[in-house]
Amino acid sequence: MAPVAALVALLDPGDLLVVNDAATLPASLQIEGEALELRLLQRLQDGAWDAALLGAGDWRTPTEKRPEPRAVGVGERLSLVGGLTARIDAKSQEHPRRVRLVFDQVDAALWRGLYAGGRAVQYAHLNAPLLLWDVQTAFPGRPWATEAPSAGHALSWELLLALRRKGVGVARLTHGCGLSSTGEPKLDRALPVGERYEIPEETVDAIARAHASCRRVIAVGTSVVRALESWAQRGERAGWTTLRIGSAHALQVVDGILSGVHQEGESHHALLQAFAPAWLLARATEAAERAGFFNHEYGDLTLLLPARERCVSASRPRGRARRSRCPAAA
């Protein structure tokens, strides 16, 4: 148990911390004149949006306790608070709440409308509604995340600059974190949906340098793992990923992770099992709970880090320099 500032002592010069710089957009939209909420799940490759409908209720009501939303029809037009208009382009057969949405507005007009009428996705366990300022990390970039990349919230610039002064690299990528929960169990089991990611060339180079010198690549948040391991599998620095990571996944790029204290059964917890066995995670979770740690969004963090002398030989993504087998630690 340590404050997050202990990262400076725990990481070594040459290690690389990779953060998700996605800004969190106001993904909760209200239908004009109705007790019907539309939550954006993800922007799709063709510019349409994957979205979920929620019935009446506000941030104080856990999503699983909200009533079913009314049925919508394909082709139905929606007017949203803030001025946006949209058409239901398709409905999921498997998940009736899930729709494919096409906004009438594009570019600056679309973003103007989203920010005028949208609100940040809320959490009933908090004491007050979250404002847009509350859901941004200290390094927000493009607004791709519909739910905040919450692990990054713990990182201040005081810490990032201290890491850099020590020689720890700090690199970025952008990954559009989607919703982790809609309150509808069947749909929630299908989450996360396909998510957009982009890894800059400079981050690719930084990873290559870290691996070449047997240093560790540490992801800040599950979204960073998803993006980097998708790149490893697909060989594409940018795209949409549906990769689900669990205990059977052999990590190719990422060595360690700073993440929330997730609960068994969550997809994020399954991802952590790629880094540590379930029994170890369970023991860590028990210890964290005993110490009063908080295991929800905006809660406390888990750091899963390989030993300093660990140097794994692993296949690298296509077109990338392969990590050489490192000499044995002295």
């Binding site: 600056a108 103007r112 300022w133 927000p140 493009r142 610039w157 400079e202």
Partner: protein
Amino acid sequence: MDIAGKGVVITGASEGLGAALGHRLASAGAKVVLFARRGAPLEAVVEEIRRAGGQAWAVTGDIADKDAIYPLAATASELTGGVEVLVHNASTLGPTPLRLLLDSECEDLERVLQVNLVGPFRLSKALAAGMALRGRGLVLSVSSDAAVEAYPRWGAYGLSKAALDHLSRTFAAELADTGVRFLSVDPGEMDTAMHAAAMPEADRASLSRPAEVAEQIAAMLVQVDQLPSGSRVQAARFGARS
């Protein structure tokens, strides 16, 4: 710095220096996002830039409004692919005719500070962090002679600009070695609506045109890598008036 292809945000861009700088940087290939309170004149500037072949977008809002900051920062980041240059140009004099400090309302001073200082702080916080992660970027604050000279009746404006200069210097000190540069530029006296409101008796022929100052700032950007971060420069150093 080669501005071509770079994402640029300019506040206070519906007229005067902000609009002129938008035109000038877009003509050099920058992707410019223009921000101002008044939508119609801002959209007109964007249309002019587009007709001339440039890339520009309008985002409306009040820089003093905290809730306007992330909509601007996120929209600009998305539309340009990443903001590398931020120009704090929006500013207000406060009520005119300008008043002595002892005759100024406390609320008027607060409003001037919100527009000229707090808004730029918030927007820098939202955009300079991304620049620091990328290891490159420029935050340029449009300052004034009144930031360093104490002129009677220019108190609210002058102290806000002095504070803006110091904000720039402090950011420069805190983010030294990150690749992000912070500069203040004194544009000199310009023939703008703001100048006319402050000094209606001034001889307009003696004032620089905003387009001329925009040209000087564009020339400054070409050699910006040689300017120490945190410094305050005169626009007139970078090209003679025509």
